[in-house]
Symmetry: C2
Subunit: 304 residues, 2 copies
């Protein structure tokens, strides 16, 4: 039994009001995979990089217990590269460079050893590629969580809607939920999205936390109020990875377990934004995570 994460493994160059980085590693599968690895010890990734991608970073994945058999290294090609600059509010950003490179014709490999996949995390990537992975798994996983973004709504809406029919949980941000449905009210947007395929919807609201919907219920978690948000890159992927990692560990799909998954995902995301790139989430201890989760309990708990 395993948790398979598909997404990008890539280079990012990030500028925030606090500083800038050279090329550092990033990508949705990087953040989600690392985050999930704190909860579940059978995390396997599917992604593609060029031969410019450092072996040390692949070794880093392995040292977190992440299986990289599905991480294809394409000789003579370059890894996906994204560069962006965040505005002062840290919620909006300009994309400076997008070099697709190996991602242009990414044909995801699902190794035979991944066919034990019970939990599938479809990190942000073309919905066509996300769908291909589902189809290459012989057995339908117990839980499929999908992250996506406005970019795919703009250029591949039909494929996105098709893929939505195949999944269990969708994670998107509030603006994307509005764009996908044409509804300003998140409650109305959620109702519409829950008729498109997913049985559960998570709306990510950045510094305002997240909402979890099923057909009958809604749960809200705040984000941890932080003095410094250093770099929001990867926070959504980290959140999703923590969420599905927690569920894989719990072993049972229920709304209550999903609520806890939201808290654990939020805790991991709150670490992520404290440093540039995945630096902070590469080196967490169980104690740090539990302490942060207890801070979430203190932040939200009241007795009425």
């Amino acid at each position: 039994m395993s948790l398979v994460v598909i997404g990008t493994v890539a280079f990012d160059a990030i500028e925030t009001p606090f500083g800038k980085t050279d090329k550092i590693i990033g990508g949705s599968a990087t953040y989600a995979g690392l985050s999930a690895s704190y909860f579940y010890d059978k995390v396997k990734i599917v992604a593609v990089v060029g031969d410019d991608f450092p072996q040390t970073d692949i070794a880093d994945f392995n040292s977190h217990g992440i299986d990289t058999e599905g991480l294809r290294v394409k000789k003579g090609e370059k890894s996906f590269f994204w560069s962006g600059k965040y505005h002062n509010d840290m919620n909006s950003r300009d994309t400076l460079v997008t070099d697709l490179n190996v991602l242009a014709d990414f044909d995801p490999i699902v190794p035979e050893s991944y066919q034990d996949c019970e939990y599938l995390m479809l990190g942000n990537l073309s919905p066509q590629v996300q769908q291909t992975v589902i189809k290459r798994l012989k057995n339908r996983p117990k839980l499929i969580v999908m992250d996506t973004m406005n970019f795919w709504m703009n250029i591949a809406l039909d494929e996105l809607l098709e893929t939505l029919k195949l999944i269990d949980v969708l994670t998107i941000n509030d603006e994307e939920a509005r764009q996908l449905t044409g509804e300003y009210s998140l409650v109305k947007a959620a109702r519409k999205i829950l008729t498109m395929g997913p049985k559960y919807l998570i709306i990510k609201k950045g510094e305002h936390g997240a909402l979890l919907f099923d057909e009958h219920t809604v749960f809200a978690t705040p984000a941890m109020p932080l003095a410094e948000v250093f770099d929001p890159t990867g926070a959504g992927d980290t959140f999703a990875g923590g969420f599905i990692g927690y569920l894989a560990k719990a072993g049972t799909i229920s709304f209550n377990n999903m609520k806890n998954g939201l808290i654990y995902g939020s805790a991991l995301a709150s670490f992520c934004v404290e440093r540039f790139g995945p630096e902070k989430i590469k080196n967490l201890t169980e104690e740090e995570i539990n302490e942060r989760v207890q801070q979430f309990v203190a932040l939200s708990k009241f007795e009425i």
Copy 2:
């Protein structure tokens, strides 16, 4: 012992994407007073209106057990009138008309019978007038809660900073907290505001809920996700009135009681936005309020 609410009692004309109203009653003391009256039976208001203000609306206050001895009716003058139009997002609005009328030279009367004030709610109004009320009370109330807005930061910052030194709890929205401190991070903004006088700070975030800070602790409550937000006018005042009303009923000032006050205030505010003006919060039952509070419990509760 009593809860004194000072603020505006006025006319509003409101336009939202859902419709528009003629002149209806509004004002910070109207919303806060009505809201507080559901929790505490000794609510007294200080405000000023012109003789154009309907006796039936004053009778409405009285039927909620609200003492209107401090509501001055100025003969031959007109009540404060505000008219505004909300944008589609319901978070931003344009002010179309502001006729100060009686408010231009408002000299608040504190009747002798109000000198038993234990809980003082300074609704949104000139900080100079807010301060005058504090000074006209012979005994310092047990708890002074103050609401204000960016308008006063722009035109009366010195008076606002002076008044802040005299109060216990400040309620402002996130943008106002940023403006008052020059800090984008709400945690840093809160730290600065807590050195300006208040021992507690509530940051209102509209559809994203509210944060309560003291020197050491932070508590977050979500807002109730609603399918329709009909008219946000008065939601902040309703929240503040419910908050202080709950505390007056509880009788003890503690962080835990304040947390519950946030929930009760949020519940009342969630009713307020369901109809135009104060229509909905004029006619609530205890059952409706308790049911909404239980929805907040369900919305926020998790077991880790």
